[in-house]
Amino acid sequence: MNLSHKAVPEPIEGSQKNVGHAFDSLCCEHLYLHLSNQIILKDVSFSLPEKGITSLIGPSGAGKSSLLRCITGLNETWQGDIKLNQQRLRQWHGGVDALRKHIGLISQKPSVFPVSIAENVIFGLSRKQRKQNQSRWIQHCLEKAALWDEVKHRLNMPAASLSLGQQQRLCLARALALKPSMLLLDEPTASLDPRSKELIEASLRQLAESMPLLCVTHDLQQTQRLQGQVIFMCDGKIIETGSCGDFFEHPERIETREFLQWSVCDCGD
């Protein structure tokens, strides 16, 4: 991610060293995950391009969220190899906490901290950075998350006073404040109203121009709106990958066709 364009403010003191390279940003190879004697992920291999949105779709229990948890280190019992910008996650300098600052994670349910809106945005920065005036950086992150216009006059209000959709965008701004190398999104609009959904999708499309996004979703219409690449998972395995157009128009595997057929029926219902 390049946030160091001259028109774009920086967090004072810089939140982290840029590790960007012109390679595949994230690369998973032969990933396995066992939890409670159950195989959750089986030989999952894929890579994400340097920028753009990749939608991760599949039925419930396919292992999509577990995959995100493995990448962010919330689940550390996986086997295989995951590399971010050519660097192995297992050998990340500074450990898993330092790694997480490079990977923004947005969960399905927004979880804001019981502090003000402004403090939430810079919650992940170091104490030294938080003590300095970060107002321009806060504004920049909130603008990127399409929330600035709605909260600019009440930055010191508790974050819990925001609506669910606004809280989700605040979580996005909070993740962006750390200048992550990539964003992982776990059904980010699942419980939101259409307006909030639209705003978040617009932000994601804009962010995808500068960094890779991996978005778990059950909403196939959203996948089509977001375009980009699609990864289809079922029973812990990757079944099919491809561009959005090819995936929906010419699915190769029978499982994919069945999934799309059922999903279309569901939408029709």
Partner: protein
């Protein structure tokens, strides 16, 4: 009209009324029974330092100071230990171990206070006497230490509950921002658990304040101010131990009896003050 005659609502209203009434009755009883003493000596007895009931000298200060010291020592020991135990069991232990620790703490909380007093008498006092080279192990330090053991489960269990009540989403949000263990603890967990921890502390203080038997057995029951005031290695007196020790000797209706009821009134006021402090936030709301 039917709205007000709902039997359940009447029952609940009567329950609330009886709770308020019992507090008022308790206070009224203490005031009424100690009134002859207050009328005879006034409130200056609160800072009097001599307590000789048979010479009509009633100074409350040594017992008040002793009570405060015992509470302070108990909190200094029990608060960090209880909080640390809650953090370790809640955040680092598996569910099985957490439940085991909790059961242990609940058993500790259920042990009768006289047992603590006996343990103090037979184990703690000789230990303090020999290790600190004292004439006697009966002192404020021993009372504070015994009290700390008694209030530890309250602090620990309530802090553990408060920490466990924080949602997994909050923990994972903090983790996904790259906050390390210490930062998560001090910036997310403890601030959010603080109302519960504070309630635990105040409940524990309430228990320590009212504890009689264990304290009476170890404090030494000496009615004098510590010299210097921070000397916690001398025998002393607390309000509860004074009431416990002397109530059997005071004849009903005498000034001595009224003075002891006055001690009870002071204790009740202190306990209510703590309780109000615990509820302060909700009262303001």
């Amino acid at each position: 009209m039917r709205h007000f005659l709902n039997p359940l609502k009447i029952f609940v209203a009567l329950g609330c009324l009886s709770a308020v009434l019992s507090v008022l009755v308790l206070l009224g009883f203490l005031i009424q029974s100690s009134l002859p003493f207050w009328q005879a000596f006034g409130i200056q007895v609160l800072w009097g330092d001599a307590w000789y009931p048979y010479e009509s000298l009633f100074g409350f200060l040594p017992a008040i100071v002793g009570t405060v010291w015992a509470l302070l020592i108990a909190m200094i020991i029990a608060l960090p230990c209880g909080l640390a135990a809650a953090i370790v069991s809640s955040e680092m232990m598996s569910e099985t171990w957490r439940d085991l620790v909790r059961v242990g703490m609940e058993i500790l909380a259920g042990i009768p206070s006289v047992v603590y007093g006996l343990i103090g008498l037979w184990v703690l006092l000789p230990f303090l006497q020999h290790s600190l080279d004292l004439l006697t192990g009966h002192n404020l330090l021993a009372a504070g230490m015994i009290l700390s053991l008694m209030i530890l489960p309250t602090i620990m269990v309530m802090s553990q509950d408060a920490l466990q009540a924080i949602s997994q989403e909050q923990r994972e949000s903090a983790m996904s921002l790259g906050l390390d263990w210490q930062q998560r603890l001090f910036r997310v967990l403890l601030p959010q658990a603080w109302p519960g921890i504070r309630s635990g502390i105040l409940l524990a203080l309430g228990r320590a304040l009212g504890e009689t038997m264990a304290v009476m057995l170890v404090v030494g029951s000496m009615d004098r101010l510590p010299e210097p005031f921070y000397n916690i290695l001398e025998p002393a007196q607390t309000l509860t131990s004074r009431i416990g020790r002397e109530m059997g000797e005071a004849s009903f209706g005498s000034l001595h009896f009224s003075a002891l009821m006055g001690c009870g009134l002071i204790l009740a006021v202190m306990a209510m003050g703590l309780s109000l402090l615990a509820q302060r936030r909700s009262l303001i709301r």
